[in-house]
């Protein structure tokens, strides 16, 4: 193995990792605070990708602006998330996990068909923003500027989210809600509004991630169910509900996948599922999480 080959695999692994972190971070936050495993998170991501394509195609005549589209996609999905939380999810908090799983799965089915109905089944793609065209040479391989950008966005969101959780007053409330929802309510905090806020942030991240993937992968039906399982793996490896765990989980996932392809090209898919199973068996609460009662 040459240095450039290894560098190439590391870089592609890290790009995958940061993408998955963008998606999985929202999933992890919602599970950590609300104890809801959101199957529809992948659908939010897909809707974000379609919205980004839509906005770009609207803006095309006046000089397409990818960044506006990305923010619009995030905002649009955040609104969708708010509606879902307020109208549906809210009524199932007290019940068993099974009912929440099924509700979010119903949303997977419905949103998947809504996307198919609205945007058809063809592959749609979005051009890279011109400012990020081209690449930089790194250790004998070329790293596309766009991938470099993604590799910076991931840690930026991680640090921002981490600071929000550990330093801000909203973060303190969120951590309290994760510990004991009833007690927090009894102390006079508006837990309902807090949950809605949490869900909106999580949906925004999913929509943003969907928009940011469009220059790299084409937008197709089925990307929702494919990505959600990957996001689950990342969240499980890092520890359900652990924010930084999700970050490192994504890094481990990305590197396992990219080096797994080198070692066993046939079974790289297999290797990440195996990783998930092994983590669940050895440390169900994840490599970086703490056991939950």
């Amino acid at each position: 193995m040459t240095v450039s080959l290894i560098a190439g695999q590391v870089l592609s692994g890290l790009t995958t990792a940061m993408f998955l972190f963008l998606i999985a971070s929202g999933l992890s936050l919602v599970f950590g605070v609300m104890r809801v495993l959101n199957f529809a998170h992948g659908s939010f991501y897909m809707i974000g990708a379609y919205l980004a394509w839509q906005v770009v195609s609207w803006l095309q005549p006046m000089g397409a602006d990818f960044w506006i589209a990305a923010l619009a996609a995030g905002a649009g999905v955040a609104v969708l998330g708010a509606i879902v939380e307020r109208l549906l999810l809210r009524h199932l908090y007290g019940l068993e996990e099974l009912y929440q799983l099924l509700l979010t799965y119903a949303l997977v089915l419905i949103l998947g068909d809504v996307a198919k109905y609205t945007w058809g089944t063809e592959q749609l793609s979005v051009h890279r923003p011109p400012i990020l065209d081209g690449g930089v040479p790194v250790l004998g391989t070329t790293l596309p500027l766009y991938n470099l950008f993604i590799m910076l966005v991931g840690p930026a969101i991680a640090i921002g989210g981490g600071l929000l959780l550990s330093r801000s007053s909203a973060g303190r409330m969120l951590r309290a809600a994760a510990q004991d929802r009833e007690m927090l309510g009894a102390l006079g905090a508006n837990v309902g509004a807090l949950y809605t806020f949490m869900f909106i942030i999580s949906s925004f991240l999913a929509g943003l991630a969907g928009a940011l993937i469009t220059p790299i992968e084409s937008v197709v039906p089925g990307m929702d169910v494919q990505i959600i399982v990957q996001a689950f793996i990342v969240v499980v490896i890092g520890g359900l509900g652990s924010f930084w765990g999700t970050f490192w989980g994504a890094v481990i996932y990305g590197l396992t996948l990219s080096f797994g392809i080198l070692a066993f090209p046939e079974f790289s898919l297999f290797s990440v599922f195996l990783l998930m199973a092994v983590v669940l068996i050895v440390r169900p609460w994840g490599l970086f999480g703490r056991p939950i009662r």
Binding site: L37, L101, L102, A106, L109, D113, F232, I233, M276, A277
Partner: protein, 338 residues
Amino acid sequence: MSVPLTRTLVRPAAPPARRVPWTLLIFLLLLPLPWIGSRYDVFLMNQIMIDALFAVSLNLLLGTTGLVSFGHVAYFGVGAYVCGILMKTCGVPFIIAFPAAGLGAAFFSLVFGYFCVRLTKIYFAMLTLAFSQIVWAVCFKWDAVTGGDQGVADVPFPDMHWMDAVPGLGELSQNSKFYVLTLILVAVSIAAIGQITRSPFGRMLTAIRDNRERAAFIGLNVRAFELSAFVVAGGFAGLSGALYGIFTRGVFPDYVYWPQSAQVMIMTILGGMNYFWGPAIGALVLDWLNQEITNYTQYWPFVLGSILLVLLFALPGGVLGGLARLGGALRRWTARDA
């Protein structure tokens, strides 16, 4: 008290609905279909029976033991692949391939279940999902044995010449003969699951569902019971998978993809997971609706999602739970009138 717990658990007073031999009744009801129904009826009912067995096997975990398995399709898939590969590639007769499918699926559930029952709740669900995705990834990529994304095509029908000896059966088409074969095998399997559910072993599972800690306190080896339930459920899922592979004349990796696990779970809950026959009713309603609605629109998932929403908010006990509630309301109403 010194009364052994098992004695009180073995035979609770059976309500009248329990005393009806439902399996036999439904078997006799469905038997004449190939002679009186259209080809379409036979096709649809065949699929419903296979799905019913699959859903009833899941309910042994979901409703009876209270284990939310999100990867039950793995064992369905293992059964389908074992039977398909044995019959297509190795030319093994059905009478050996069918039990082999059940045993193969049970073996996989034993290995996977050994790890799964160590976890609870959401972690249990995630681990079952992970294992089912491992099975999927292997089926999808292992070209040499599973045919990769092409799957195992052209799985042959079993040899059903022995039916010619039975008067009336000989003139039926291959599809109708397979319907009769499915009916017999599914009826026997469901009757067996029913016996298991009503046995002392099944009562123990329900005790675990109702209160895991208390069941452990009275000396039950909870994990061993859960693992046994997991293996039995996986084995019967494998049998239904074997039938399904022959029914659709092929086995494909899509059969093992995780949304299929969600689909069978929806069937179970749609019918009512607190009732033995609930999952079968769910399979009936869902498969029938699927056929009817796909005639009009390609957006079946949308309809299914909407059904699920209605179910969650308006009918949490499923179809049978709703009927029971309606029956109770009617009884109260007539009692007040009298």
